[in-house]
């Protein structure tokens, strides 16, 4: 899920209007993205204050008198500044005829439509899996051009960025687990430790392979999967 999609859904997420899958996606994204988490928090505070505050607290004292004063100020300022007629607009220091402007707009529209069609044909929205599993070979020409220009990440850069995000989330859940683990019984603690060791070994193995061969997309994909599962393990045990 992208930040835009997440932010679009935050309001409905807080109102519990999303289905289970979308709600989980928003929750996962918020746990990974500090910016969206902050926005979600702000929304929640606003909602809380709206729900909790009495209507009388939201109105200023003597609100009618306040409105009268605001009206007076607006009216007096409107009288003070007579509207001067605007001079005819000039572009690039010279004036154009209507037909010239029209044909220019038409030209821009045709060119941008063609670019959009070419773009759509060559591009599709990459998913989180694509960031880790797609190789240079499977990139479309459009993506290659964009990454060369520096507008998008190469698969390796995208993978690094995602790994950093995952590591941040793992650190967060790990802190919560450390605060809780004293309360688990021995069986639970041993099982958790054994599984965590298993994930750590896998992560270490794939990291080593990727250091030797950064183009090994399969190891990149497996590393992503192992980190995701480690994050899920920590999140699940932080609730116990």
């Amino acid at each position: 899920m992208t930040c835009d999609e997440c932010q679009e859904n935050i309001s409905r997420f807080l109102d519990n209007e999303l289905d289970e899958t979308s709600s989980m996606s928003v929750q996962t994204h918020i746990s990974l993205c500090a910016e969206c988490a902050k926005i979600c928090e702000d929304f929640a505070v606003i909602l809380d204050s709206c729900n909790g505050g009495k209507p009388s607290e939201l109105l200023p004292p003597n609100s009618q008198a306040l409105w009268c004063r605001i009206n007076n100020i607006i009216e007096s300022e409107a009288k003070r500044e007579p509207v001067a007629p605007e001079p005819p607009k000039r572009w690039f220091g010279r004036s154009f005829t209507l037909s010239q402007v029209g044909s220019a707009v038409l030209g821009i529209a045709v060119i941008s439509s063609l670019l959009t069609i070419v773009g759509i044909k060559n591009y599709y929205e990459p998913t989180a899996e694509d960031y880790t599993s797609r190789s240079n070979a499977s990139q479309t020409t459009f993506e290659k051009v964009l990454s060369k220009v520096g507008l998008t990440d190469t698969p390796q850069q995208a993978r690094m960025r995602r790994l950093q995000e995952q590591q941040a989330a793992i650190d967060y859940w790990n802190k919560r687990v450390q605060a809780r683990r004293e309360q688990w019984d021995n069986n639970m603690r041993d099982a958790f430790d054994r599984n965590l060791r298993e994930f750590d070994q896998a992560v270490e193995e794939y990291t080593l392979i990727l250091q030797q061969d950064p183009q090994d997309d399969l190891s990149g994909e497996m590393l992503d999967s192992a980190l995701n599962e480690k994050m899920n393990l920590l999140r699940a045990f932080s609730e116990l």
Binding site: D185, A191, R194, N195, E198, L218, S225, L233, F237
Partner: protein, 259 residues
């Protein structure tokens, strides 16, 4: 006089021996009695709608789900001491049991072992932190079995439209049929994944065992299957490829068995 004293002392010794014997018997059986009284049981039956969904989240213990021919869900649970709280909820076609939520903040809760019977067409979504999961005779839209850490997953006689089984350390065994257009996913960290399916099955396969490279296709090996990434992955199509099958075992083996 001496004779009667001897008699009394012999009677005293016999009484002492009897008391000692009785006490030893009591102490021998005491832990068993305590064990029996420590285990509590729970049982409840709910009427089921056509596409009823069972959603269970357990902390530790085994969960066995069986499909049956009645339109009701029967939940039996055996709770080891200290007994967990169980508060099942019936919410618009879903029977929800969340032991993590129901016991939040409680320490050292005993295992809860479930035996649940559901209509064959039910959707089953079961999850546990530790323990074995088993699902039998279910043909609904979804069977999901998830173990956060350790435990085996056994899915037998399953004909669900979507199956998702995942564990950390432990084996996964699937014995069932794959529906056209269905989605099947099996994921493990360490263990053996064994899939027993009919030869008439049709699927697009991505099977990955990066650490062991131990992927055995058995009868399902064909020219349309190819090993990629130095034998770490097998990808391809079997039959018309109408369903999707993804198998990942990070540090274990994958084997296909003809049903």
């Amino acid at each position: 006089m001496i004779c009667s004293l001897n008699k009394i002392s012999r009677i005293l010794i016999a009484a002492k021996t009897t008391i000692l014997l009785c006490l030893s018997v009591v102490f021998f059986f005491a832990p068993l009695v305590q064990e029996v009284s420590a285990q509590r049981s729970f049982s409840k039956t709910y009427p089921a709608t056509k596409n009823v969904r069972l959603q269970l989240l357990n902390r530790s213990g085994t969960v066995t789900v069986e499909g049956w021919d009645r339109q009701e869900i029967n939940i039996s649970a055996y709770l080891e001491a200290p007994a967990a709280n169980i508060v099942p909820q019936s919410l618009s076609g879903t029977i929800l049991i969340d032991l993590v939520k129901d016991n939040q903040g409680r320490n050292g809760i005993g295992n809860v072992n479930f035996r649940i019977r559901v209509p064959r067409m039910a959707n089953v979504d079961i999850e546990t932190r530790i323990g074995n999961l088993s699902v039998t005779n279910v043909s609904g839209g979804l069977v999901r079995a998830f173990i956060t850490t350790e435990g085996d997953i056994t899915l037998t006689n399953i004909t669900a439209g979507a199956v998702d089984a995942q564990n950390g350390i432990g084996d996964i065994f699937f014995d069932g049929e794959m529906r056209g257009g269905g989605q099947y996913r099996f994921t493990s960290m360490r263990g053996n994944i064994n899939l027993r399916i009919p030869f008439e099955s049709s699927f697009r396969l991505v099977a990955t065992a990066p650490s062991t490279r131990n992927i055995s296709l058995g009868s399902f090996a064909s020219s349309e299957m190819s090993f990629v990434g130095d034998g770490r992955r097998v990808a391809g199509r079997f039959g018309s490829g109408s369903s999707s099958l993804t198998v990942t075992n990070q540090r274990g083996s994958i084997a296909f068995i003809r049903r």
